[in-house]
Symmetry: C2
């Protein structure tokens, strides 16, 4: 292992995204191409709700282990983005507008009844990673946000065009996210470029991003297997009505 | 929720097994029916290795939070079963004889290169469950062993008959397990019947067994999707040679 320059480290991070980010997953091609049934879109939104709901738990876990007031203050904006300035505001509330718009019962969504166990295991793995690994790795695991503005614009365009049951209002979550994601990713990228000072730390940063890509990919694998092919819904998980 | 008698609790536990234990998963029908390719059997053994390797970590995590010397001593026998009395002995060593027999490189197996991320997330979820939930739930999550002697006898018979590359020697892991599993399951069942004294505790015990069935089921879902249908191998995971 040799020491990379900060720019070489950034290039290696972007290369991981180009090979492993879930934009490449076949489920997204179906979803964005308007080729999912309403039940499949519901299953996606229902499962992804758990990821959204746990993001502030993940971010608070990072803040909780951080001794630097500047970093805590910076990272705190993510809590505001997801939990909102007041009730009904923020990313989680906007995600529930999406599940409402798709005809899912809000109590069902929030209760996590019907969640795929594989979704829970992948999301919880992310929370545990942030609690247990080094602060540097915890920050690096957020770097999938580097790649999210592109997937979000593809998703909004494709879903509005492809599904009569999707409106700009139900997609409000996505219209708010890109500037937040850009700001957060720029900060985290700068942080890891400055703080990964040894080859071992740089490799840990790269492995953290690979891990996070796996977390996202595994969620789509589980959706695909349960609801697209071979349609093996695990015992107790959501069964679409149509 | 009403208070169940100990025998009603046992019946409810056995009912969860009858509906959700991974013996019902279609991957096992293929594996035990001799209908897997060698590459699919390799993928199963490679992934299941991680589960085997983490079982003593899980058991030590349970012992570590246990203030009762009697329970610690009883549970310690599980460490001996898996780690052995000496090097080369025990369940993990016997699992590596299986992966050796299937033509997998031992360094590859032990390194966890090629492991499906979904396997890692499911197994780690089990370890975290045992560390974070009540001791009663941690004990209850081991109760899938109630159902393992049947699946093991089906597996040994089916695999010896179905695969020319499988021998009684490579299946040594399974010939040793049933009496250990029976002793452990009897102890854990008696423990939860005596210690789940309120309806809430009984429901927690039932939920713990459901959780554990989900952990096992999710591992087979991931194997099926990656290596049987639709054969979507996630980035970086094991690719069979044949």
């Amino acid at each position: 292992m040799k020491l990379l320059s900060p720019d070489e480290l950034e290039a290696a991070l972007r290369d991981i995204g180009a090979r492993s980010y879930h934009r490449l997953h076949p489920f997204h091609a179906l979803l964005h191409g308007g080729r999912c049934s309403k039940g499949q879109v519901q299953a996606w939104a229902l499962n992804r709700y758990y990821y959204q709901a746990m993001i502030p738990v993940k971010d608070a876990s990072l803040i909780a282990r951080c001794e630097d007031s500047d970093l805590r203050r910076e990272w705190r904006s993510r809590l505001v983005d997801h939990d909102g300035a007041e009730k009904g505001d923020g990313g989680i509330a906007r995600w529930l507008k999406l599940t409402d718009g798709l005809g899912l019962d809000r109590d069902d969504v929030v209760s996590l009844r019907g969640l795929l166990p594989a979704t829970r295991f992948a999301v919880d793995a992310y929370v545990h990673f942030v609690r247990e690994r080094s602060l540097l790795e915890a920050v690096a695991s957020s770097l999938t946000e580097l790649f999210s503005p592109v997937i979000i614009s593809e998703r909004m365009e494709g879903m509005l065009k492809g599904y009569p049951f999707v409106t700009a209002e139900t997609l409000a979550y996505f219209s708010k996210r890109p500037p937040q994601a850009r700001r957060d990713a720029d900060f985290a990228l700068d942080y890891v470029k400055r703080h990964a000072e040894t080859p071992a730390e740089q490799q840990a940063v790269l492995a953290a991003l690979t891990f996070k890509c796996d977390v996202l990919w595994a969620q789509l694998d589980a959706l695909y297997a349960a609801y697209v092919d071979p349609k093996h819904v695990p015992p107790g998980a959501f069964v679409p009505q149509e």
